[in-house]
Every structure is written in C-alpha cells, then in structure tokens.
C-alpha cells in the first residue's frame, strides 16, 4: 500500500519532469535512426544471406543489435533518470516529510524504484516496438526465443542500473554527483574483467563479477539461473544499501 503510494507520487513527478521527456525523445530518435541504418544494412545483405544455409536473420542483424544500442544508451540515461529520485527529496527537504509519514525506508526506496522501472519498461517497449512492428507487418522470421532472452537481459540490466542509481541517489543531495557515481559503478561492473581477459585469464571470479559476461550470454539467447542470480544480487544489495541509508537519515547528526 505505502509502496504503491510512493510509486504513484514518483510517477506523478516523472510525468511532468522535462528531463524524462527530453531523454525519451532524444534516445528514441537516436534509436529510430540506428534502426533504419541496421535495417538498410540487413536489406543490402539479403543476397549473401540467401546463399547461407544457416545464416543470421532479422533477429541477429537488426533486433538484437538495436537492443545493444539501447543498452549503451542505458549507461547514461538510467543514471540521469534515477539521480534525482532521493537526492532531490533530500535537497528540497521533502525527505524528512516522507519519513515523518511513518513509511518504512524500504517502502520509500521500493516505491521510487518501481516508478523508475515503469518509465524504463515503457522506454524498452517503445524501442522494441520498432523491429516487432516491421516483423509483424511483413512477416519476417523472428527468432522469438533469442529476442526474448536478449530483451530479458536488457530489462535486467536496466533494472540493475536503476537500483545502482537509486543507491547513489540515497547517499547524496547532489543529483549530478549521484549520476556520475552511478555511471562509474556501472562502467566498473561492466569492465571489471577486462584486465584479466587481456592477460588471457577467463572464467574466474572477475568474469563472474562482470556485468558484460552475463549479458553476452543472454544476447546469445541463453538464459541461465546463474546470470539471473547475478542481476538479482546486485539489485537487492543496491536497494538494501539505499534503504539502510534512509533508515540512518532519522538518526543523522
């Protein structure tokens, strides 16, 4: 009940926040342009592809690469979307007001997280609508299993970035600082294994720790519990840290 109330409040704020609309418009415009580029390349390759017995199709050459573009944008967009979620409440003095309504800190964090997920889900669906609409209208062969796995990976990564963003937002009253911290943490998680890989070491703990490892597996159409657990752990830890920080807020000197 109180999670829903906080989520509803946050969605109302997101609805009228120019940054949310601006980010959506700019990124979807960019994705549409990239989609046309990918589609053009796919069309030009038709003769070659027809000669291949088991060559890549629309899913491999257009839909999944479009999701990869979306993921690259997520590294910037998600921290920008989440940076104000708690930091602005602290800055405006509305955080003590929220705490005084007797909401448990975890409910405040979860409510805000849910609101961010709603926005991100809409963003993902609009991006996904481009290849799906074309595939549906001209009856292209879609590898639905692979696309579903890639979409799930994309959704999980955005959910993870949002959780990291909220955790960073909980620790500061400076929204810009929260965005930069979230971006740095996300990039660190993405590239944590690059040094080991460059040295030829693969399959170790650093590989498991890296976000890229789990996402690349899903992009190939394979969904494993190990990968889902990785995203789940990062989300839970991030949200727990944010809740803990808010709980400390009442006792802060």
């Amino acid at each position: 009940m109180s999670i829903a109330a906080v989520a509803h409040l946050e969605l109302r704020r997101l609805r009228v926040r120019p940054l949310a609309w601006l980010l959506a418009a700019l990124t979807l415009g960019w994705l549409a342009w990239r989609y046309l580029f990918l589609l053009d390349t796919f069309m030009k390759m038709q003769v070659k592809l027809a000669a291949m017995a088991d060559g890549p199709g629309f899913t491999d050459l257009v839909a999944v690469p479009l999701l990869a573009e979306l993921l690259q944008l997520s590294f910037v967009v998600v921290p920008l979307m989440t940076m104000t979620l708690i930091a602005s409440d602290r800055r405006q003095g509305t955080l003590p007001l929220l705490l005084s309504t007797g909401q448990p800190p975890s409910h405040i964090v979860l409510g805000k997280y849910l609101a961010a997920l709603c926005w991100l889900a809409l963003w993902l669906l609009l991006a996904l609508a481009m290849p799906l609409a074309l595939a549906g209208s001209v009856h292209l062969d879609l590898d639905l299993g692979k696309l579903a796995a890639a979409t799930l990976g994309c959704a999980l990564m955005m959910a993870t970035l949002a959780a990291i963003g909220i955790a960073c937002s909980a620790f500061t009253s400076q929204a810009a600082l929260a965005a930069v911290a979230a971006l740095i943490i996300a990039l660190a998680l993405w590239t944590v294994n690059s040094g080991a890989r460059a040295a030829g070491v693969e399959g170790g703990f650093l590989d498991w720790l890296a976000m890229s490892t789990h996402l690349q597996i899903m992009a190939r159409g394979v969904v494993g519990t190990n990968d889902i657990a990785w995203f789940g752990i990062v989300i839970v830890v991030s949200l727990a840290l944010a809740s803990r920080r808010l709980a400390d807020e009442r006792g802060r000197r």
Binding site: M1, S2, A4, A5, V6, H8, L9, R12, R13, V16, R17, Q92, G93, T94, P96, L97, L98, L99, S100, T101, G102, Q103, P104, R250, G251, R253
Partner: protein, 242 residues
C-alpha cells in the same frame, strides 16, 4: 470532545545536530486539547524538538511516547496520529496543489477524494488547486503545507513557525484553525519567535533555551501572559550574557 488524557510524553530526550547539543534532557508531556506554545531564541532547539515529535528525527537518548506507544521504535504510528508543518513547508515543485494533497492523503493511507476536498474547502485553496507548488508564493506554500498537515485529521498537530509569510488575514485564519482543532480534542504544538502568537492561541507555554527546557507553565490568565513576557526576556538575556 476534549479529554485530559496524555497524548505525547517525552522523557530525557536528547539530540545532537551539526556537532553540538541541540536538545538536552527534555521532559515534556501534552494532553489532548492542549495548545502548547514552544518559545526560544534562534538555535534554542525548537525545530529539532518538533522534528523528533514528528518522527523525522530519532533522539540520541530518551523516550517519546505517542498515545501510550513507543514512537521511536514504531514511527509508523505517526502516519495517522501526527500532522507536521516544518519551518519552511517542503513541497514537490512539480506537483499541483491538488496533487500534493492527493499524494499526502495516499501516503497517510487515506482513500477517496473527501479528505482532500474538505481541506481544500477549509483552507480556501480552491483558486490555486491547479497551480504547481513551484510557482506559489511563500504564504501560499505555507498554507499548502498546513493543509497537508491537517489532511488526515491528526491527534497531534506540530506547527513550526506556521505564521511565517502569512498576511494578517491568514494569520487570523490560522489562529481560528488551531482553536478549532484544539476544541475537537487535537493537541497542538506551536513553535514561534512571536510572543503575541503564543499568548493569543496557546493554553500553555514552554521556553527552550540552549536545548534545555527552562520554563513550562499554563497561559490561562492575563497574569500568566504578562509573566511569560518577563520570563522569556529574562531567559533570553541570560542567554546572551552566557
């Protein structure tokens, strides 16, 4: 109906803020229907005390009981029982006045439009109901903050400098609302710098000084009101000397 049952009881409450003692060994109780004026010079600890009473801050030591229950361990009981107007009414600048009230109602667990419409009517917020909070004047922000505090008909109303930026008509209206709430059995704590504000509406006055309670007495007669004036200045000037 007014009863004399104690609603709020603070015992040995202490709180440090920004590296200094803001409130120290505070013992205070408040019954339903009482209107307590909390006086003190700047930095006396009034706002910290009220933030603790509202559940926004946790004391470092001591106990706070609200309606017989431990308010420190169970801050959720404040959701229905406490309405708080902080010193500068904190608002979400993107939301309209009506959306603010609807959000506050949801956060307090209220359902339906009736509580929101009732408070809009009572505080005459109708003409500005569609305006976003970010463009409201200071006085209008204060009225909206007061509306959010009154929305759920709390048993304890905590007002920190509520007359800030209000014009004389709005100040008179505020006094009438406080009297109305007290008559309905609500306990009210009113923090202010203005002695006249306390003598006009309060049934009791307390003076905080350097975080400690220096005076707590009734305000039922003219003699009490005149004595308060003298007591306050005695404490305030001793503070300056210290």
């Amino acid at each position: 109906m007014t009863t004399t049952r104690v609603l709020l009881r603070m015992a040995g409450v202490a709180r440090r803020r920004a590296g200094r003692v803001a409130v120290d060994d505070l013992n205070l109780s408040l019954a339903r229907g009482e209107v307590l004026g909390l006086l003190g010079v700047n930095g006396a600890g009034k706002s910290t005390t009220l933030a603790m009473v509202a559940g926004a801050l946790r004391p470092d030591a001591g106990t706070i009981e609200l309606d017989g229950q431990d308010f420190i361990d169970r801050p959720e009981i404040g959701r229905q029982l406490v309405g708080w107007l902080p010193e500068t009414a904190p608002l979400w600048p993107e939301l309209t006045v009506r959306e603010h009230l609807q959000a506050s109602a949801s956060l307090r667990g209220l359902r339906g439009k009736a509580p929101v419409e009732a408070v809009i009517e009572r505080l005459a917020l109708g003409p500005m109901a569609r305006r976003v909070a970010g463009v409201l004047s200071q006085g209008q922000r204060q009225r909206l903050g007061l509306a959010c505090a009154l929305l759920h008909d709390p048993a304890l109303l905590v007002l920190d400098e509520p007359a800030n930026a209000l014009d004389p008509v709005q100040t008179a209206e505020l006094r009438s609302i406080i009297a109305e709430r007290a008559a309905a059995g609500c306990a009210v704590i009113l923090s202010t710098h203005v002695l006249a504000e306390v003598t006009a509406v309060c049934t009791r006055a307390a003076i905080l000084h350097q975080g400690r309670l220096r005076h707590d007495g009734p305000l039922t007669s003219d003699a009490d009101r005149q004595a308060l004036d003298k007591t306050f200045f005695t404490i305030a000037t001793s503070a300056e000397a210290a």
